[in-house]
Symmetry: C2
Subunit: 326 residues, 2 copies
């Protein structure tokens, strides 16, 4: 990873913000690096750019490894480009130790967009630092939106916690399966149900696509007993042959319309802003609390924890009480 | 989910703690429910029981849906029971909306342990409340350790954020694959590498087991250029026929010895305690901060956010400044 220097000077930040607004790809890349490196200036930048955000439509694409999510992302991107829309793609891989976490094949596949100024692709990964990846992905999306992206695509692997959080961020979430997913559907059922707005059975030219579609349809029927207001459609695609992509786009658009008519887009946006505010507050409180003195007190107490039989609960209490006295 | 009442009286809590120490299964179940429901008394309980914790050995088992993790867990549990060891099993499914998230098949498979007082099984899921599942699973493990478990097995699906966090908690993490995983290995490579202490190729009587083993071995060889001090062994098993389980146990034991000799077990424990203390502090700070007045101020500001063009960063700042003035 190339370390980015923190832009200290205020006018340097303003210049960066201006270049982002102009859609300058290098400026966008730089801003996302600031976010990844958790540089304080990133926050100022997001604050400054805020009025420009929130207008992009966010699509989440998730599914098991090998389901063809990148190929599908590429096919959708091509279609959006033909409609004249600018696309930002954030590939989130919580397990990759490489920034630019996409595997080689994905990069090659995405290379077709390298010369297209209307497409911006960024891979994000979280090595070591647990947590925060969903938040950083969301902030990167805000930068892309400020730079003029009409569509943001989040590509994630699996249905773990990070993926659930990102699905919560997206307006429309596609869950991508393959004909071979049959066995997994039972096991993944609950999680899939929770996050899918549209199901995609990709690689549908292989045997078993209809069975997977049937399994999904049955699950949805069972669920519909509980009166959901949106029933996820199921679309078969062969992304690497561009088959089924138009049908998929129609379903995405239908879901978009549905959200808009019910006022749910605005609802989601406010919920995102609320969560974001809470996260920032939590971070600031922690930063203010963990002074060098308290860090030292924690380190020292951990050395003596066995003799003193103090639990983390007791230890936290002690540190918090010192605060009150101070 | 059965809602648990909060035990308010101090002697009620002491009684619960005493029953947990005696290994009373109902008391253990009650305590874990208190943790899941985030009842304040859970904390007092964990504080009281702390001196008894930390002695159990923690094994994480993760892998894609359908890899046979539950069958493997059952086979390992049987072996540990023959050695006279008590086993606590925590099945973590971040995506299941059911508490007791295991699918029916798993429950039936685990039914053999229902009458064994030396085995305690608990499923945990996180519906809605994002985050915190890894923390709750760890706290549940502490209760099981206090109740006398010698071995704790965490069973998780996939390699998402929650799984990474739980792997961080475990002493030895098994990554379970199947012969069909070949395609996924490339894609999952990085994440697997990061968390696996032992690789298990389960269902190894199917075609492709040797190829998967070879792929893994090659990956490990590439990695060994970077001088790791532990190279994850690869074990083939057929868990439902109890094949390869003894070999797997040997590798787990070898990893345990390795950690102990290098002082890494103690290191890991201190790191867990440190992280835990920080989490508790963060929670207490947030609880203290979000008074009804601030909650109201946040809700009101969100209503006006579009007219005022204030970003979440600005909003958080404003709320935090009110604090200073107060």
């Amino acid at each position: 990873m190339v370390k980015t220097k923190s832009p200290n000077a205020k006018d340097e930040l303003e210049q960066l913000a201006r270049r982002i607004k102009e859609g300058d790809r290098r400026a966008v890349g730089r801003a996302i690096s600031l976010i990844e490196d958790e540089v304080p200036a990133a926050e100022t930048l997001l604050d400054v750019l805020f009025p420009l955000m929130g207008k992009a439509y966010r699509i989440g694409i998730t599914g098991p490894p090998g389901a063809g999510k990148s190929t599908l992302t590429a096919a959708l991107t091509r279609s959006f480009r033909r409609q004249g829309k600018k696309v930002g793609i954030i590939a989130v891989d919580p397990t990759s130790p490489f920034t630019g976490g996409a595997v080689l094949g994905d990069r090659v596949r995405m290379a077709e967009f390298n010369t297209d100024p209307g497409v911006f692709i960024r891979s994000m990964a979280s090595r070591g630092s647990m947590g925060g990846l969903a938040r950083k992905a969301e902030e990167a999306a805000e930068i892309l939106a400020a730079a003029g992206a009409d569509i943001i695509i989040f590509e994630t692997v699996g249905v773990g916690q990070t993926e659930l959080e990102i699905a919560d961020t997206a307006d429309t979430t596609l869950v991508v399966l393959v004909p071979e997913s049959g066995d997994s559907i039972q096991a993944m059922k609950a999680g899939l149900m929770e996050i899918a707005d549209v199901f995609v059975v990709n690689k549908a030219d292989r045997e078993g696509a209809d069975r997977v579609q049937l399994d999904l349809a049955m699950m949805l029927q069972l669920r519909d007993g509980t009166k959901q207001d949106w029933t996820p459609p199921i679309v078969q695609t062969v992304a690497n042959q561009n088959k089924g992509i138009d049908a998929l786009l129609e379903k995405i658009e239908a879901h978009h319309q549905f959200l808009e008519q019910r006022g749910k887009l605005e609802q989601r946006r406010r919920r995102r802003l609320q969560r974001k505010t809470r996260e920032i507050v939590a971070q600031k409180l922690a930063e203010a609390f963990w002074t060098p003195e308290r860090e030292a007190a924690l380190a020292e107490a951990l050395q003596r924890i066995d003799e003193e039989h103090v639990s983390p609960y007791g230890l936290a209490q002690r540190l918090l009480e010192k605060k009150k006295k101070a």
